[in-house]
């Protein structure tokens, strides 16, 4: 690959005296499935927040497609091809399932305020197009039948999957998944792994995921980066990571952290 899709160059973020992520360098290539793991509080979600523009790094640079994203607002970054899900599910609770997807699709809509007000035939056909497209996405995740349910009334696992669909609807080049398997049972997890691989291939996107479930991470990731206390301690293939003494120390040394049932 000539140019990485995403490039973090010594990205650092400090909150007051606390350095949440320090000198984090990482490259993500197009169509790659990369995992970001580490004990709780290691700075994984913070790294996501830097990549998506929610936080601005204190030091260092982040480049998307060779362009710096410093100062770019989250919604503009989404336009440039980054989409994400949230650790603590953030759906549009009062919207229906399909409207959650639709809201995310307005980014690429060719019809805006004027068409909505005029409501000509073009508006109608474009709205139908949006609906078909949203339903297609929902069907991949078996959510099509729930299209008119209120998003906040869905069971937990469906909400997590709807978040992925919503993120996909923005047509990303890089999809960030923040603990997509959290709260799912083993069967659902198995299904999810297949789905993640499927969408990566179908839509030709890079996927970066934060996950605590090692079966999921080791099972689908091509490459893994490990954070501990905001510092990257290892990077490599799943096999390399499993053997890495530093990683073993980080996890076994703080065994109680690893399987902590509650995530903030």
């Amino acid at each position: 690959m000539s140019q990485p899709l995403l490039k973090l160059d010594s990205a650092t973020i400090r909150f007051g005296g606390l350095t949440a992520v320090s000198n984090f360098s990482l490259e993500v290539n197009p169509c790659e499935l990369i995992g970001l793991i580490g004990p709780n509080g290691a700075g994984k979600t913070t790294a996501f927040n830097m990549i998506t523009g929610v936080y601005q790094p204190t030091d260092g640079h982040i480049h998307l497609n060779g362009r710096s994203i410093a100062g770019v607002k989250p919604h503009d970054l989404t336009r440039q091809g980054i989409a994400r899900t949230f650790q603590n599910i953030r759906l549009f609770g009062s919207l229906s399932v399909i409207d959650n997807v639709r809201a995310a699709m307005q980014l690429h809509c060719k019809h805006g305020v004027r068409a909505s007000l005029w409501r000509g035939s073009r508006f109608k056909s474009l709205e139908n197009e949006v609906e078909t497209c949203a339903l297609e996405l929902l069907d991949i995740f078996k959510l099509g039948s729930l299209r008119d349910e209120e998003a906040k009334s869905l069971p937990y696992g469906d909400q997590r999957r709807l978040e992925i669909v919503r993120a996909l609807a923005t047509r990303p080049k890089l999809l960030l998944l923040d603990e997509p398997a959290a709260g799912m049972n083993p069967t659902e997890k198995e299904e999810l792994m297949h789905l993640i691989r499927f969408i990566k291939d179908k839509f030709q996107i890079a996927v970066m995921l934060v996950e605590h479930d090692m079966t999921v991470v080791m099972g689908i990731c091509e490459r893994i980066a490990v954070l501990e206390y905001g510092i990257k301690i290892a990077e490599g293939t799943p096999q390399q990571i499993q053997r890495d003494p530093k990683v073993i120390a980080a996890y076994l040394g703080t065994e109680t952290d690893k399987e902590e049932p509650f995530d903030a």
Binding site: T45, N49, V54, F86
Partner: protein, 303 residues
């Protein structure tokens, strides 16, 4: 120069009253996170309580006198404390778990209810009533500056109350509990703090301050009427937000700033008619640069 100093003194006196009222807004906001619009009306009720109590008290302690004034104030404070606790119990407690917007609208409703009920002929009537002289009045003349005894009383009372409030919040068990409830209600409840008691206490305390502020305000005003709380209430409420709502020193600072500003603007011809507008304009300007007020801490939403 004299004019400046004179305005400074007047401004401090007015600002002290605003500060007292603002403290009530801010304390309630601190524990319950909503703006208690009815606070301004408790202030009005405090003044009316004093108005009706004064003739009765004067039969035992002739007015104006310091003892008489103290007794009248103490009694109105007790009445208003009760009213404040009652308002919380009847109107706000049932809404404890509801969205804050609901509570905010209810607070506006309570405020309107008190105002319109009091304006009714059978209650106080809408007309302005002369407020009795509670304290002997004397103007001190210091090198060309005139300091009214009422102004002195206002400033000194505020300072004493501020100190007392600081002590209660920072140094007593009740205050620690208040701060805990303000920080995290659920966690405080789990630590064995009786939330309802703390909230009642906060309302009582805020209403007591409002009663004192009402009497002090009435002493300086030409008379009292059921809507007398609206203007000072609005300014105090601006003051509380200006200083960073939920922040006690912020409320005091905001009150003083606003009082000074108003007296100085009022002293300049042409500006005086715009006083309310200017207060709000300054508030908006400050919020644009410091969205959480002067001393408030900006909260960062966790993503």
């Amino acid at each position: 120069m004299d004019w400046l100093l004179q305005q400074l003194i007047n401004g401090l006196a007015l600002g002290s009253i605003y500060a007292l009222i603002a403290l009530g807004y801010t304390m309630v906001y601190g524990v319950l996170r909503f703006i208690n619009f009815a606070h301004a009306d408790v202030l009005m009720l405090g003044a009316y309580a004093a108005y009706f109590l004064a003739p009765a008290v004067s039969t035992v302690f002739p007015l104006p006198s310091l003892t008489g004034a103290l007794i009248v104030t103490l009694l109105s404070v007790m009445i208003c404390t009760g009213i404040g606790i009652l308002i919380e119990f009847l109107a706000y407690r049932p809404l404890r778990q509801r969205p804050r917007l609901t509570v905010l609208i209810t607070a506006i409703g309570v405020s309107l209810l008190i105002e319109f009920t009091c304006q009714h002929e059978a209650v106080f009537g809408a007309d302005t009533k002369p407020f009795p002289q509670l304290l002997p009045v004397h103007d001190f003349n210091i090198g060309g500056l005139v300091i009214g005894s009422n102004d002195l009383v206002v400033v000194v009372t505020t300072l004493v109350l501020l100190a007392a409030l600081w002590f209660i919040v920072q140094r007593t068990k009740m205050g620690t509990a208040m701060r805990a409830v303000s920080f995290n209600q659920q966690a405080a409840a789990l630590m064995g703090i009786n939330i309802n008691r703390i909230i009642s206490f906060t309302f009582g305390l805020g209403s007591a301050l409002a009663a004192i502020a009402g009497i002090l305000y009435a002493l300086k005003a030409p008379g009292i009427d059921p809507l007398m709380g609206v203007q000072p209430g609005l300014r105090a409420f601006i003051a509380a937000v200006l200083g960073g709502i939920g922040n006690l020193p912020g409320a005091a600072l905001g009150g003083l700033l606003l009082g000074l500003l108003e007296t100085f603007a009022g002293g300049i011809s042409g500006l005086s008619n715009y006083r309310d507008g200017i207060a709000f304009a300054i508030l908006i300007l400050i919020l644009l640069f410091k969205p959480a007020g002067l001393l408030g801490k900006a909260s960062v939403e966790k993503v």
